[in-house]
Assembly symmetry: C2
Homo-oligomer: 348 residues x 2
Amino acid sequence: MHRGGSLLSPTIAYETWGTLNHERDNAVLIFTGMSPSAHAASSTLDPASGWWEEIIGPGRPIDTHRYYVICVNSLGSCFGSTGPASIDPRTGELYRLTFPVLSLEDVARGGYEVVKHLGVKRLKATVGPSMGGMTALAFEIMFPGLSEGFVSMSSGPRSLPFSIALRSLQREIIRKDPEWRNGNYPRDSVPLTGMRLARKLGMITYRSAEEWRLRFGRERAATTDMNGDQFGQVFEIEAYLEHHANKFTGQFDPNCYLYLSRASDLFDIAEHGSSVEAGLAQVRVKRAMIIGVQTDFLFPIYQQRELAEGLEAPGREVEFHALASLQGHDSFLVDMDRYRPLIASFFA
Amino acid sequence: MHRGGSLLSPTIAYETWGTLNHERDNAVLIFTGMSPSAHAASSTLDPASGWWEEIIGPGRPIDTHRYYVICVNSLGSCFGSTGPASIDPRTGELYRLTFPVLSLEDVARGGYEVVKHLGVKRLKATVGPSMGGMTALAFEIMFPGLSEGFVSMSSGPRSLPFSIALRSLQREIIRKDPEWRNGNYPRDSVPLTGMRLARKLGMITYRSAEEWRLRFGRERAATTDMNGDQFGQVFEIEAYLEHHANKFTGQFDPNCYLYLSRASDLFDIAEHGSSVEAGLAQVRVKRAMIIGVQTDFLFPIYQQRELAEGLEAPGREVEFHALASLQGHDSFLVDMDRYRPLIASFFA
């Protein structure tokens, strides 16, 4: 592991779409944000819609007629890859907090092992939104020359104190739930309240104030749940947060959430050089596309610009897009009318 | 009370500085943000520094040689005024959640009763930051003609869903602390964890991402408190939040916090007319100054502009200032180099 410790025979879950060509050089490697699984798009094996369904598929912006698309579930996550919720083969017990400190460099290495295992010779591009963008950036520095292109969305070269503060608070909310039990909660009794509250905080920062003003305004909730006091759901925005937080909770393992969240804090490309610039100077791709959104709280637009400018090099084509999307950090998941043409053009 | 219910013989705590003149028309009435007391500045009775020490005093921007300055502790608060932590004289028990729904209109009326009690005939201005700005606005509509001027800072004509969402989450964090006990916590065992976490969320939104980037960057904490796991304080920003949240907690009564927080959500000047514009059209002051900050998360700068534009009327002087302060919503407390001259010029 990047910051010490080791795992015995870890598993990395992945999904693929399309076919690896004879030259083994048409692969696209996708890293995810903090919480999604490797199921980025539907397939015959799993027809459920994926988290980037409109982008990946035959005739879609990342066209599976042309590309062999790979998406990995992050090391440390709980959707098939080894993480704190997995059994440590050395002890026969769940790792829980004995899992070593997780870094995005470890997540990147997980992706590399999958690429190697699949016999890919060269990647057309690595692609990542949010935490996945930082992971893809780590990948580019750790495995130079393997990838021709790099696409970063709503991401940056390092985590800044504002997003560290938000994630730190989310983690503390989970850790202060008595049901967390210092990480030793039973599988059937996870700290649901802490997870629900942390998720609400996430949702508040994943979108934008302007989107909510237009969507919800000061509308009152149709059904109010006052829980015997006046502090229940009065406004539509409160009902919306409650509904979506409940959907998330129960799917994601709390300890995995803590590890991936801290791994995001720890990421700093400057650790791969003496500065952000020196770190970025080690990237070897031929083409890069950096997409940011003006309403993003977590990775402000100037970080996207810093990333794009830091990647500029003789003979390299770097595109920088500052989108006016209203949906904030999560725009890459929802503002498809803006993302579809950009991704399609990069992969055309 | 504005939304039903009543209080028997409520108390409104206040402090004053300077002397009411013979014409009884040199008073300035200050409403506070959600958590401060009426102690806006030091005095001979209480020499401790107040929350607006640099603004109020002899020779200061609100010059107590000229003005009779009054600051009230909000109804519903816990620094002398009647609130959920007070004893209901009708039952001999603490109000707790039997306190009626609180509105900023009630807080405004509390200020009015103080003004009347002090024999003030006419106010030079009402002044309020944040929640206090909305309270002062309510005051102007409820008691038209009493005040010549109106100064709003980091405030707006209504609460928007983004700030409602944040406050709703803060309230839920407190209410989900088992120590809250549905509002019936003993006086010596308040829900400290919930209050601490809610305060951290407040602090994250009271300042700005840019300020923290410049102040803390990715500095590591001098003393790390890992609490036996890797999720304790690693970064300086985490230690900063912990330090300041601990300072706040214990001072503020949790139920009072819930009531004042919800009162802020509920405020909408449009309830005093058919729209924000119609509500604002009822204000009768001769002069108004609206100060907003470009980095404010809770009351974005366009709300300040909306407020200023809505107050424009023939023969009225309306100043609008969009400050470049880095300190976000809290700038009125800290960016004194920008605020001092503006307030001084208004009161000159």
